[in-house]
Symmetry: C2
């Protein structure tokens, strides 16, 4: 099989030609030195690491899997060394707080790096990804002592992190969780309970493992307003950070999963483990959401990453596999990439991935602006866009990633079903991204039920105005007509659907029934916007541009002609309302 | 997890209330004794066998898998005994030729039985399924001696069958195959070559294994016109059928697959194995297609079967899993089946499966009519419908089955990703049905490129006329308005798309570019027709009908409101034509 080729050229095109990265960074205090040249060198190195160190462990990691030996996790061959190399090269702290040893680079570069790591080895990527999420929750909500002790070691990658939320009876509905925290005289807490589905719950890389655990204090109110967040390390560290006694937590079992076999997803038992409160009592969910929002974007990028890797390999296969006659019948044996239906599959994956990458860059830029822009109004506006896009990126990118993996597997025919070829692993691995960090249905309800009403219902329209602005200027560009027109039509459908849902906000079934279709309609329209911007930028880059840039207008035309028509169906389905979903009683099912 | 419940009530409803089974059978010589009562008792027994004997081996079979020991296949624990019980109960010969010991029952009952076996245990179902396919090819094309020796033992299930087509470099394009057949003085042939992806290539049930192998004679023309079909048994039988010497074929390896782990998919080596010609020299592909068409319908039914099993389990889970508040906020903890987005997933699976089952019954009835009706005109008309529906059933049912499995897995959230719950196995198992027996892309091209032009382009319109007839009479039925109107609109889209493709038959890119979208448009419209017929039948069955019948109009309303809108997008995509697919050169990808 072909090796993964990091799409750095495309990333640089997005930064420099599409999203005006240098000018954006120049406006952000602390990022004045960041520009496309710096980005290029970071991304080149990250891509090299992903392709040369992480990808070679992807198939073998899947076959070997992580396992539990005498209560301790053993990761697959090579993971330990790769993790060490990853940390030593500084990738763990790329966007980490410089006050605690991080490099303080923008989210924009973090998210592009995340994509390449996810393409190369999804199971591996969860280790630094969850560590970063835990780092952010501690950074935002923990006291100074905990920060000083934990953050430098987590940002360096020496210690890893894990999020311990889910219990057997408390998944989407965290209000049901029963893990208890009892205050001790020394200010610490004793944590007791069992959590399931804990990614990176244990590892054999050495160092400490910092669990962020949701639990209830003795006086906690019922439901989500009685949940507190605790830092529970595997080893109790001294004040100088050297590892002390083993804490009372252990991996009781590893989950047997469909995919991400190399990733040790643990059933975690906390048996009176010592922990420390992070943030206010009973306000743990808010603190955890700091981590979860970043994680949700990260999971969306995981979906994109797997999709990109899959479509690359399918494309390489389709160029080499000889089967069937040429369309005009003149050549008896041609590469299958000549067949229209194979092209349909490859192009679908390609336009979904390229479009999603563009949207990921824009969203990350909004995060950087929200975090640093000197103007509070600009910060707030960007923050609203991040809130709006978080469920879209998480759900749509993981759906697109899975769909791309399935289509790419299909390109290989029977070989796609055979493990050795690696395509079926992409399908199994991508599948988890649609489920964890809040299922995609939960994301869709977050979009229709919580994000649409924000800013008095003006958040989404504020984004639509931005899209219209782009479309108006693109309408004047020769060669961009098809994508501009199709996106404008999709936007009309999205606006009508938005108004329909907001007008019926008093009916709780409406937002729920529309949610999944609406999120996809929103995502496809937004990708249409990204394709419009890319087309305009590619056309002005001229005929000398790199092949990956020159092909953008043709890809946009495919997106317009063969993908955007889905928005017709989605609008019709949304406008048909919830009645047909709610007619049956539960017994009738 | 809930056990599989065979949908026999729904099957009987389809036979008796929707498709007038008794009257249809009465018109077919040899089936005069067949009626709904007989069907009910056969299906009850088949369902019981599937649920009680086959389903309990499904998860364990997946975990254990088939393996190769000293060159011989060992199937998972219990498979041998289950296969013996299956054959002894007479299921192997249900629709088999009575001249060779079969029960001679209609395809209609065979296909419904196949669905239940596939729901319970897809890997198992391939053993009798492939045996039946091989039996049919032998029955149609082999000489009397071979038929007398092989058919009774295959129809009884004592011997099993396998189809050996694919080679490493010859998949979709069978013209590339290189396996050789050299004539011997005694009239037999020596077969030499290696085949891959051979389902049921070996087993440990005892008896013989009858391989139907495609190979080239020494004087064969190149390409598909130089392929002949050979019967190559694992053991060389005496004239009385007792097993003699081991023939020169062996399973060189088992494929490592994404799913159907219990099924021994073999790399088969034929090292000068003795075989006998079936049919004419160089006409093997035609003979094999007898088998492949029946197999394609069977594979479609496999997709339906897995989907049905998956949606049943997701529904049972959704009724029990408590998570989240009721829609009106009044109850703090409700079964997730109350949430609109969960209903969307379950209802989508339910309407796809019920609709597909209806179409499978209609298609099987056409096969029965094509095989037995005294009027040649009626036989030919039915045969045309079978030709038209074969790619639709194969591709759409397996797509629907996979989509249903994925949605059903999603209903379980994180638990859906864990092996113990069994949902992820449905996804892995269903995936192969979209690939084998001709990928779904190949099916779609068969529909647009070969089936549409049949009968001078009048085959599809002949079917559309039948649909219109149903819609006209349904339009008068109170309560059937929504599905009738939505189906009529879908049919308009399908007719326009059909005309568009036929009008551009001279452009080979057109039919290929439209194929996958067109097949789905065709399938959804046809399912709309089935839902219209079911609605009318259910409404006239009245309020006393069983719950599974009474809910049909509400399910049809969901299909109309939330599934049929897809036809809007499919038509738009088809009418946009092939240009955007063909614009890039292969290098540009």
């Amino acid at each position: 099989m072909a090796n993964y080729v990091p799409p750095v050229e495309d990333m640089i095109f997005l930064l420099s030609n599409v999203f005006d990265f240098d000018r954006q960074m120049a406006a952000l205090p602390g990022f004045e030195e960041v520009n496309t040249d710096l980005a290029a060198s970071v991304l080149e190195e990250a891509g090299k690491f992903a392709a040369e160190v992480l990808e070679p462990l992807n198939r073998s990691g899947d076959e070997e899997g992580s396992r539990l030996e005498n209560g301790e996790v053993v990761t697959p061959k090579g993971f330990k060394e790769a993790y060490k190399a990853f940390s030593e090269a500084g990738w763990s702290g790329l966007s980490g707080d410089p006050d605690y040893g991080g490099q303080g680079l923008p989210r924009t570069l973090q998210i592009l790096t995340d994509e390449m790591v996810s393409s190369a080895n999804l199971s591996f990527g969860l280790f630094p990804g969850l560590t970063r999420g835990a780092t952010e929750a501690i950074g935002h909500h923990a006291g100074e002592d905990l920060k000083a002790l934990y953050l430098p070691r987590m940002i360096s990658g020496e210690w890893t992190g894990a999020m311990a939320l889910t219990e057997a009876s408390a998944g989407t509905d965290l209000g049901l969780l029963t893990t208890r925290a009892e205050p001790q005289d020394d200010g610490s807490y004793r944590i007791t309970g069992t959590k399931i589905f804990i990614s990176s719950g244990d590892q054999d890389f050495g160092g400490n493992i910092v669990h962020l655990v949701l639990a209830r204090l003795p006086d906690a109110p019922k439901g989500v307003k009685g949940i507190s967040l605790f830092l529970v390390p595997k080893f109790l560290p001294d004040a100088d950070g050297s590892l002390g006694a083993r804490n009372g937590l252990s991996a009781g079992a590893l989950e047997h999963k469909m995919g991400i076999h190399a990733q040790p997803t643990c059933v975690m038992n906390y048996d009176g483990a010592t922990g420390w409160l992070i943030g206010e009592p009973h306000r743990g969910l808010a603190a955890m959401f700091t981590m979860m929002n970043a994680e949700r974007l990260f999971v969306g990028i995981e979906g994109l990453g797997v999709g990109e890797a899959a479509v690359q390999k399918a494309t390489a296969y389709a160029k080499e596999r000889l089967q069937g006659r040429s369309l005009d019948g003149s050549r008896p044996l041609v590469p299958i990439i000549e067949h229209p239906d194979v092209r349909r599959m490859l192009l679908t994956g390609r336009v979904l991935c390229d479009g999603a990458r563009a949207l990921s860059v824009w969203t990350a830029l909004q995060m950087d602006i929200a975090g640093r822009h000197p103007d509070a109004g600009v910060r707030n506006a960007a923050d609203g866009f991040v809130a709006l896009m978080t469920p879209v990126v998480k759900a749509a990118f993981t759906d697109f990633g899975f769909e791309t993996a399935v289509l790419s597997q299909q390109v290989l025919g029977g070989h796609g079903y055979i493990r050795e070829w690696g395509m079926e692993q992409f399908v199994r691995d991508a599948r988890i991204t649609q489920i964890y960090e809040g299922t995609n249905g939960v994301q869709a309800m977050d979009l229709t039920g919580r994000k649409l009403p924000m800013e008095d219902g003006e958040l989404a329209p504020r984004f639509f105005a931005l899209v219209k602005e782009s479309l108006q200027s693109a309408a004047l560009v020769p060669g961009a007509e098809a994508i501009t027109t199709a996106t404008a039509q999709a936007l009309d459908r999205l606006e009508r659907s938005t108004a329909h849902i907001l007008a019926r906000a008093e009916d709780p079934a409406e937002a729920g029934a529309a949610a999944t279709d609406y999120l996809r309609l929103f995502a496809l329209t937004t990708l249409g916007w990204c394709w419009t911007k890319m087309t305009v930028a590619a056309l002005s880059a001229g005929a000398d541009a790199a092949p990956a840039i020159r092909r953008k207008p043709a890809l946009a035309a495919f997106f317009a002609a063969r993908i955007l028509p889905q928005t017709l169906a989605l609008e019709a389905s949304i406008l048909n309302g919830p009645d047909s979903l709610m007619a049956l009683t539960a017994d009738d099912f």
